[in-house]
């Protein structure tokens, strides 16, 4: 999306209705410095941090997610875009805490035992955070005990498990079966994801849902939280 014309752009001179789409383009191109600058400009103009997050960053990543799904963008480009979003979020995060931004729920997330591949998990964590979820990231290589302890301690709503390997994905069932044995399975929404997984696998192991990418994870989490609130 970048071209020579963009190189001459002075972001601070753009009106809001041009700056925000320009930030979407910059996010798409993984331009972290420009994203940080754009975030600062919008904040200086009096934008609420939550609006900067949702309208400039999350919306930009939504476009990235669509093009990834459609095979237009690949993992390296998505990672660069995510890196740019992370830079923007680093500015916004401390401001969001006190700004009354909506909290949709709390997610405990980590890759399963034996799996150190955390790219997908990190993307989901970032997008969930951007969407208004509180995220407790357990990192990589988590045994069942880590998940259960964190769910209890954090009073979480959602458990997210991620795996990249065919050999590690069955461990998700170990976690869910343990939750059943302890009578706590239905206390949580369980979402699973990772490259070798599919919907059938998610159902077979007793997860609530398989999420094929970060954007789907956010939408699915929102839906389940809305249902949960409707039941209360």
């Amino acid at each position: 999306m970048s071209n020579e014309e963009d190189d001459d752009l002075i972001l601070s001179e753009l009106p809001d209705d041009e700056l925000v789409p320009q930030m979407h383009d910059d996010l798409y191109d993984g331009m972290a410095d420009e994203i940080a600058e754009g975030v600062d400009i919008l904040l200086e103009r009096g934008w609420e941090p939550y609006d900067v997050l949702t309208k400039a960053l999350v919306e930009g990543m939504r476009i990235v997610g669509i093009d990834f799904r459609d095979g237009i963008l690949f993992v390296p480009e998505v990672l660069l875009a995510a890196g740019a979003m992370k830079r923007g979020m680093a500015i916004l995060k401390p401001l969001l805490v006190d700004s009354g931004a909506p909290q949709l729920g709390k997610l405990v997330i980590g890759t399963v035992k034996g799996d150190i591949h955390d790219i997908g998990k990190n993307l989901v964590a970032m997008m969930m955070e951007g969407a208004g979820f509180e995220v407790v990231d357990l990192g990589i290589n988590n045994p069942v005990e880590s998940y259960l302890e964190a769910l209890d301690k954090e009073n979480a709503d959602i458990l997210g498990m991620s795996a990249l390997l065919t050999t590690t994905m069955p461990y998700m069932k170990v976690v869910i079966d343990t939750m059943k044995e302890q009578g706590i399975r239905d206390d949580y929404i369980v979402l699973v994801g990772g490259a070798p997984l599919n919907e059938e696998f998610g159902k077979a192991i007793g997860a609530d849902s398989y999420c094929r990418d970060a954007a789907v994870a956010v939408e699915t989490a929102k839906e389940y939280m809305a249902r949960k609130h409707n039941q209360l």
């Binding site: 993984g30 690949f74 993992v75 390296p76 480009e77 990672l79 660069l80 890196g83 034996g114 799996d115 150190i116 591949h117 955390d118 790219i119 990589i140 290589n141 390997l165 065919t166 050999t167 994905m169 490259a195 070798p196 997984l197 599919n198 696998f201």
Partner: protein, 201 residues
């Protein structure tokens, strides 16, 4: 005319031909799918199925020389539905070492190269991951790895040097482990019940 077909991953072509030469086997015809399918494992089952269906009328038996290869069990299910056998195990590096031995090691933080991947490191690892253009992504991809293990199918000094250089580029410690062709030999051995067998024709 042989009436047995082996459909293999292109990353195994050299090794399968070497195994045939070593054992004097000529009991099957070999057709390979592009090794690059590994960059999109979800496309492997459809590609295998297409080749099976295209050749079903020409061959008495068809054997699929793929392991699961990141398909999450989908390839195994597809092969079962098609009525064809395939190689057991999660990946080629697992069956080269021997599936049981590989599993027993439980190496979580090791990144594996085979002869093929050592030879094609730039084309199959470095460039597809965008590391040629964006080396700053290295930490994101490999930050959780500690060691590169080169599972060598052959004694090749030049290839070992390439694998060692790959480890340096990825910032990982290096270990070379000679495996030979491991379980791939028995998978193709006509004495094995599930292997491609000669069909009189």
């Amino acid at each position: 005319m042989t009436r047995t077909l082996v459909i293999a991953c292109g990353a195994l072509a050299t090794e399968i031909l070497a195994i045939n030469t070593l054992n004097g086997w000529d009991h099957y015809e070999l057709q390979c799918l592009p090794a690059k399918l590994h960059l999109h494992p979800d496309r492997i089952p459809d590609a295998v199925e297409k080749l099976v269906l295209e050749n079903r009328d020409r061959f008495e038996t068809i054997f699929v020389a793929y392991a699961d290869c990141g398909t999450g069990g989908v390839l195994a299910a597809r092969c079962k539905a098609l009525g064809v056998e395939m190689i057991n195990g999660p990946h080629c590096y697992a069956f080269f070492e021997g599936n049981q031995a590989f599993e027993a090691r439980g190496e979580v933080t090791s990144f594996f190269l085979t002869d093929f991947l050592a030879r094609q490191f730039d084309g199959f690892v470095w460039k597809p991951m965008g590391l040629d253009k964006n080396p700053e992504l290295l930490e994101l991809y490999f930050g959780n790895y500690e060691k590169l293990v080169y599972l060598a199918q052959t004694e090749d000094v030049a290839l070992t040097a390439k694998a060692k250089e790959a480890a340096q580029r990825l910032g990982l410690t290096f270990e070379r482990r000679y495996t030979g062709y491991g379980d791939l030999v028995s998978a193709l051995d006509p004495k094995n019940a599930s292997a491609p067998r000669p069909v009189p024709g």
